[in-house]
């Protein structure tokens, strides 16, 4: 079992989660984070609206799904297709991290293993 964590633009969440379901992911969860990578900062007003400051850390959403090892390629591809801005992509489109999960348990039934996903 592997965990796939995709950090994407918040406005892409609906597309990415739809794509996950399309390729047969059994579930996922997502949450808002603030993230910074190579993306250039945006200018925001501070204080009473006179001054501005540059913030490089931007709102992102991290979508996590645990899948079977052999689903990695399909899922990653699906995420990329859904999360990319246009055909070219744009800085800040996000990253995907893969790590291994040793077990999964379903609370409702105590089942564990790949069936749970």
């Amino acid at each position: 079992m592997i965990k796939i964590e995709a950090i994407v633009r918040p406005e892409k969440v609906n597309q990415v989660t739809a794509a996950l379901l399309d390729v047969g992911c059994g579930g996922f969860h997502y949450q808002n984070v603030t993230g910074q990578g190579r993306q250039q900062g945006v200018e925001v007003f501070t204080g009473r609206g006179g001054q501005t400051a540059t913030r490089a850390a931007m709102p992102k959403t991290i979508i996590t799904t645990v899948v079977q090892d052999d689903q990695q390629a399909t899922v990653v591809e699906a995420i990329i297709a859904a999360a990319k801005t246009g055909d070219e992509g744009a800085i800040g489109d996000g990253k995907i991290f893969i790590s291994s999960v040793s077990d999964a348990i379903r609370v409702r039934t105590n089942e564990s293993g790949e069936d749970v996903l």
């Binding site: 200018e43 009473r48 609206g49 001054q51 400051a53």
Partner: protein, 401 residues
């Protein structure tokens, strides 16, 4: 007082009271989420503490007979005001609301780091030693500025310059907030605008109520108040847009407040053209003042001096410039009465000096009294004042609750 005037003064008093919760949200939205409760509470408790001070001795010091400098204790606990003297009773009420909001305005200067217990005592002392005398000078029949003929229809000096310069004293003495080098993003823009909306609404009571009657003068004051707020909101917004490329909502709200501040002393004296000039000027001047303030090391956290101090000074002088004899009975510079400018200057300077010095003394004294002190500990400041002083988190959205 006839029923119509009384009806309006009852309403106007309620409107001015409503400005203080408005201010709580205006200021509250501007701070970091960990200090929202504290910031709101600084305004809210002023409604409590100052009301008590006012009816016990504040009113008497401000409007009781005395000298040209301050009243006396003749009306302690409203002693000597007859139960059927509606005119005096409603005047006590209306003026009480001004005494509440003035020190609440100051709190923007020391937001996010002031000790709450000290603040409650500060409220008592400041209203007694600064607000009451200045109010007496300007509005009591035997006040020295009133007698000289300084114009302040609804409180440009008494409220805004007074609070603005006290804010400088407070920001200076309490010192800079920790860890604000990156600037502080307002944690809730909606609350800022909500507060501005409540302030704008309540300000109609403030200005149009200050003639103490429901008549043409009140209608004019209402009109120019709205026009100045509007034009300052627009001028601030456009100037900030030209400079940064963005339309700041906090800027629009701040502009509106700046315009309201500036029109306050003028609202019984100028016409709609004067109001446009005052408003557009307020937006530009106060915006510039905010930028300058950001360059000096004074951490007037929510820009009280740039907006209320500078805005109030601009309004006081502009009253001298744009006063129209047909409206308030006094001509201004543009109608050839240059002498009025002198009176306006004197009122501004006197208020600046007196309020600054006495505010400094009060704060210095509070700072050295054992168990008080102005500033919370570093640990409390870092953790946020809500948890550390108030035992409350502003927002609790986690799964556990």
């Amino acid at each position: 007082m006839d029923s119509g005037n009384m009806a309006w003064m009852l309403t106007a008093s309620a409107l001015v009271l409503f400005m203080t919760p408005g201010l709580a949200f205006f200021y509250g939205g501007l701070v970091r989420a960990k200090n929202i409760v504290n910031t709101i509470m600084l305004s809210f408790i002023a409604m409590g503490v100052v009301s008590i001070v006012w009816v016990l001795w504040g009113y008497s010091l401000a409007f009781g007979p005395g000298g040209s400098f301050i009243g006396n204790f003749d009306h302690f606990a409203l002693n000597g005001i007859a139960a059927d003297d509606g005119e005096t009773l409603i005047f006590v009420v209306f003026q009480m609301m001004f005494a509440i909001i003035t020190p609440a305005l100051i709190t923007g200067a020391f937001a996010e780091r002031f000790k709450f217990s000290t603040y409650m005592i500060f409220l008592v002392l400041w209203v007694t030693l600064v607000y009451a005398p200045v109010c007496h000078w300007v509005w009591a029949a035997d006040g020295w500025l009133f007698e000289r003929g300084a114009l302040d229809f609804a409180g440009g000096t008494v409220v805004h310059i007074n609070a603005g310069i006290a804010a400088v004293a407070a920001a200076w003495l309490v010192g800079k907030r920790r860890n604000i080098d990156r600037g502080v993003e307002p944690h809730s823009v909606p609350f800022v605008v909500l507060g501005a909306g409540m302030l704008w609404f309540g300000w109609f009571g403030f200005n149009a109520g200050s003639g103490l009657a429901a008549n043409a003068l009140a209608a004019n004051a209402f009109l120019v108040t709205n026009v100045a707020a509007a034009s300052a909101a627009v001028s601030w917004t456009i100037i900030a847009q030209i400079k940064t490329g963005k339309f700041s909502a906090v800027g629009a709200a701040s502009g509106a407040v700046a315009g309201l501040v500036a029109i306050t002393p003028a609202s019984g004296f100028v016409d709609v053209v004067g109001a446009l000039a005052i408003g557009i000027g307020a937006g530009a001047i106060c915006y510039g003042a905010v930028l300058i303030r950001a360059k000096v090391s004074l951490d007037d956290a929510l820009e009280v001096f740039p907006v209320h101090g500078i805005g109030g000074i601009w309004g006081a002088l502009a009253t001298g410039i744009f006063a129209v004899e047909a409206i308030g009975g006094t001509a201004g510079l543009l109608e050839g009465n240059g002498a009025q400018m002198t009176e306006q200057f004197i009122a501004v300077i006197a208020t600046l000096i007196y309020s600054f010095i006495v505010s400094v003394i009060i704060l210095k004294v509070l700072d050295v009294i054992p168990g008080l002190g102005l500033r919370v500990s570093e640990k409390d400041e870092d953790a946020g004042l809500d948890i550390s002083l108030h035992g409350e988190r502003g927002y609790v959205h986690d799964g556990a609750d």
